[in-house]
Amino acid sequence: MPDRGLPAGCGGCGCVCDDVRVAGASISPACAPGAAWFSQRLEPALPPSRIDGREADPDAALDAAAGILAQADTPLVYGLARTSVEAARSAVGLADRLGALVEPAGAVRDGAGGRAVALRGASTATLGEIRDRAATVVVWREDPLTTHPRLLERLRLDEAQRGARRLVVVDDRETATARSASLHLRVPATGDLDGLLALRAAARGLPARAVGALTAQAARRLVDELRGAQNAALLHGSGLAAQPGGHRRVLALHELVRDLSDTCHLVTLALRRDANAAGAEDVLTWQTGFPSAVDLASGAPRSFPGPTSAATRLRAGEVDAVLSVAGDPVVELGGVPAGVPIVALDAVETATTRAARVVFGTAAVGIGAAGTVHRLDGVPVALHAVAAQARPGDDELLRALAARLGGEAQGC
């Protein structure tokens, strides 16, 4: 039931602000991605079900979807980052039964996946820790004022609130965040790895060559500043990770943190783009042991990011059906070959829903359906429905689909 007393929780980005008031097309506090999230989903843009582009009876659509998935040998389950943890559980359960490949969209979209973390680990913290403790916050090639507009305000790092705390931006672009920074270090986009290595060298008192504004002296000053802070934070995201070789740059960032951790408390925060990017990976990890690229075809989870990544498998023609849950694989994975049938669940029209054989127009989490998401720092946030929509959410629909395929969505 819609709860009109409690503020809405917003799925517009990884911040999942839970204090939002929605009035028509505008939300307060104002935020562009948040406004887009609500305005595109408050009034359903899709019919409840569609087969081959035509509105269809939901039962017939479930039968058609179940038929596609039952006939597939190597289906792909993709998305999950803009839906609930509950739906992700059901989707991974279905994938286990189908022997499917599972790829959460979060890391595909923001690059902030776990490959570097899997190798060496990471030091992380929830938003409140950074807000209340970090004296210096370095934002590495990100522009949160645009992508996560309320993040700096929530971390009390906007100019009005930050006082003596320092916001350092490493970027060669003149972004909104860079303009607001206490210090803007212009480092060329090709210089991230060298820049991070220069900082590691400075941390060890070794000589390093200049990378843009990050001269040996500037590197030393930044390292000294971090060391001098009791607590400091590094914010990173697609700027560092999204291009090829991204995990090596993210690895260098985590190694820098580890190097400095002997004398100060340094944490990182990955700026996840999608509201449930972290939650989808959490579910996949607890159910299978791996956060991404999980191939269940052999009857047990295998994950070798690269060889078992969805994009690789699609390119190799090794996927023969796609179940997309609040994702857009046609755009995000570089296309789905013609002839590979797609079953898509989404609250909005996308390139994928347009290409899909069967489409279910579902109620979005936090709008027409209740559910939990894990925001960018991993904190679970329960979202309630703020609008009455006469259609199921993703979880309910996936359970119905699993029932068509025989048995419950969740085995044990």
Binding site: G121, Q230, V267, P301, V379
Partner: protein, 550 residues
């Protein structure tokens, strides 16, 4: 309905020590008798015990899940196939959720308590536990570093208060937890400021206006006065540090007069000087435990081989990080706690590891009261729960133990009393106490850990084998809630368990105190903090406060 016929029953809670008897089951409970047409399991020559109860393990929640991410190598080598009843998954020292349930059941364990969940992450932990079949799970929430709790203690002049009692009961109700855990109180605050360890219980926790001793005292008193089914569960200061036994003994004195449980005592039983070589203080701790009958403990045995250290005592993780080159995770949770994770291997050739292993065995073998000092490896910190059968063999089989002692670092073993006159071998009844009856009693679970009429029908049937490791690793039958889940050695069903949570009343007015304190400190709205979603909380059994028990 089911009759387990003719087995030798070890049910120490009811004074049954190996008597040949039938165990009858109907509607998920132990009953006095069942009609002749009930299914009959022929248990002649076999050993019948209640299902195992793990008082302290780490199996769910964000910390455990983060550990899975850095353990890809070991899990790629240990995959578990899906089958008719089982979801697939992966193993290693921190198995995926389904596999955790399967493997506990395959050892005859049917109740497991996760000992460290940040309340802010309760939703995550509960969702994982929903995906952990075959066991009845419960968990303890971390309150010993909570800044709001500190405010309440400070306002009460450094002690407990009705407000604090209501707050503790509110927290249990709002998270679905069974009890309260304190980890090294004050340590997380120090860690997050990058300013080192606490060295004394009377050192102020930064500027928060409380000392670790006040936190211990206030929360132990609050839990005691609330009559929680399981008293405050304490991870003492200085885990793993030489000389920490002094603080452990000080903590025990501080807790005097209140019920409390000391977690993984082995890790807190070291003599010597900080930074120097540890020594064993097991004898002193056993004596101190003997003198304080209201205290219970679990051992936290170290087992040689791979482990994963997962702890809210993040400072010790930094020490382990710097001792090698393994992956390291640190995760700070606002207001509540820190967390550190480092994969680790215990080697018999290492002085420290062999000493830790030896101290655990000393604690077991010197302990006069198995009800109060029970089995754990602090899974996966001292080793996986999969090593319990080997640990049982070390306790039951002196020859095997002596053989293993000879393989361990000699200098370390000479620092223990294991080479003296410790001929003790645990009996099957004592094993039944330290693996089910004792933990169930410590946890306040009246329906678990025994086979009396009315108890939950969680039963394990073992072949009586001379090799105790093999015996306890391969139960012939396991019955969970009256359903046969291991039949003739095979997993045949994987039902979901029931959440075990405290049922303790609080004054709802406490929210008027907590709301502003939460809004000042947390980045999540107060109204979204408490868990109420039925899919996370049901089915459950509420374990009432001591005073409210029939």
């Amino acid at each position: 309905m089911l009759r387990i016929a003719g087995g030798r029953v070890h049910d120490p809670a009811n004074g049954v020590d190996g008597a040949v008897a039938d165990v009858c089951i109907a509607d998920g409970r132990i009953v006095a008798d069942v009609p002749g047409h009930a299914r009959r399991i022929d248990a002649r020559g076999m050993v019948v015990m209640a299902g195992g109860v793990d008082v302290h393990a780490h199996i769910a929640g964000p910390a455990v899940n983060a550990a899975r991410r850095v353990l890809g190598g070991e899990r790629r080598a240990d995959v578990a196939m899906r089958d008719r009843v089982r979801r697939s998954g992966t193993g290693g020292t921190v198995p995926s959720s389904f596999v955790t349930g399967h493997r506990y059941a395959l050892l005859g364990y049917t109740t497991v308590i996760d000992a460290a969940i940040a309340p802010l992450a309760a939703r995550h932990a509960l969702a994982e536990l929903r995906d952990t079949p075959l066991i009845d799970p419960g968990f303890l929430i971390l309150l010993g570093d909570n800044q709001v709790v500190y405010e309440l203690i400070r306002e009460a002049g450094g002690g407990t208060s009705q407000t604090l009692r209501d707050a503790v009961a509110w927290w249990l109700e709002s998270t679905g937890a069974l009890g309260v855990k304190l980890v090294n109180p004050g340590g997380a605050e120090r860690w997050k400021r990058g300013n080192g360890r606490l060295t004394s219980l009377d050192e102020p926790v930064n500027e928060l206006g409380v000392t670790p001793r006040q936190v211990l005292d206030a929360l132990a008193t609050a839990a005691h006065e609330l009559g929680l089914p399981h008293p405050v569960h304490v991870h003492c200061h200085g885990l793993g540090v030489a000389g920490n036994a002094r603080t452990t003994l000080d903590t025990m004195r501080t807790l005097d007069g209140r019920r409390a449980h000391l977690a993984h005592l082995q890790f807190h039983a070291y003599g010597g000087r900080p930074g120097g070589r540890p020594r064993s203080r097991a004898v002193d701790l056993v004596d101190a435990l003997k003198a304080q009958p209201e205290l219970t403990a679990d051992v936290g045995q170290v087992m040689f081989g791979p482990a994963t250290t997962i702890t809210a005592d993040a400072q010790i993780s930094a020490v382990l990080r710097d001792s090698g080159d393994a992956a390291w995770i640190s995760a700070d949770t606002e207001v509540e706690t820190g967390c550190g994770i480092v994969p680790y291997t215990y080697r018999p050739s290492s002085y420290t590891h062999a000493l830790q292993w030896g101290i655990g065995l000393e604690l077991f073998l010197l302990s006069p009261d198995p009800w109060r000092l029970v089995l754990s490896t602090d899974h996966p910190n001292g080793g996986s729960f999969l090593s319990y059968p080997r640990l049982i063999r070390l306790l039951m089989d002196r020859e095997y133990r002596n053989d293993q002692l000879r393989r361990a670092n000699e200098a370390a073993i000479r620092r223990t009393v294991l080479l003296d006159d410790l001929h003790r071998e645990y009996s099957l009844n004592e094993i039944a106490i330290i693996t089910r009856a004792g933990p169930a009693r410590q946890l306040g679970l009246a329906d678990k850990g025994h086979l009396g009429v009315g108890a939950d029908a969680d039963v394990t049937v073992y072949h009586d084998r001379a090799d105790r490791e093999e015996m306890f690793a391969t139960p012939r039958y396991v019955i969970k809630g009256g359903e046969v889940v291991i039949d003739d050695g095979d997993l045949v069903a994987a039902p979901r368990g029931r959440l075990l949570r405290a049922g303790v009343a609080h004054d709802p007015e406490i929210e008027r105190t907590l709301r502003p304190a939460f809004e000042r400190r947390y980045t999540l709205g107060f109204d979204r903090y408490a868990v109420s979603e039925p899919w996370l909380l049901e089915p459950a059994r509420r374990i009432p406060a001591a005073g409210e028990r029939p």
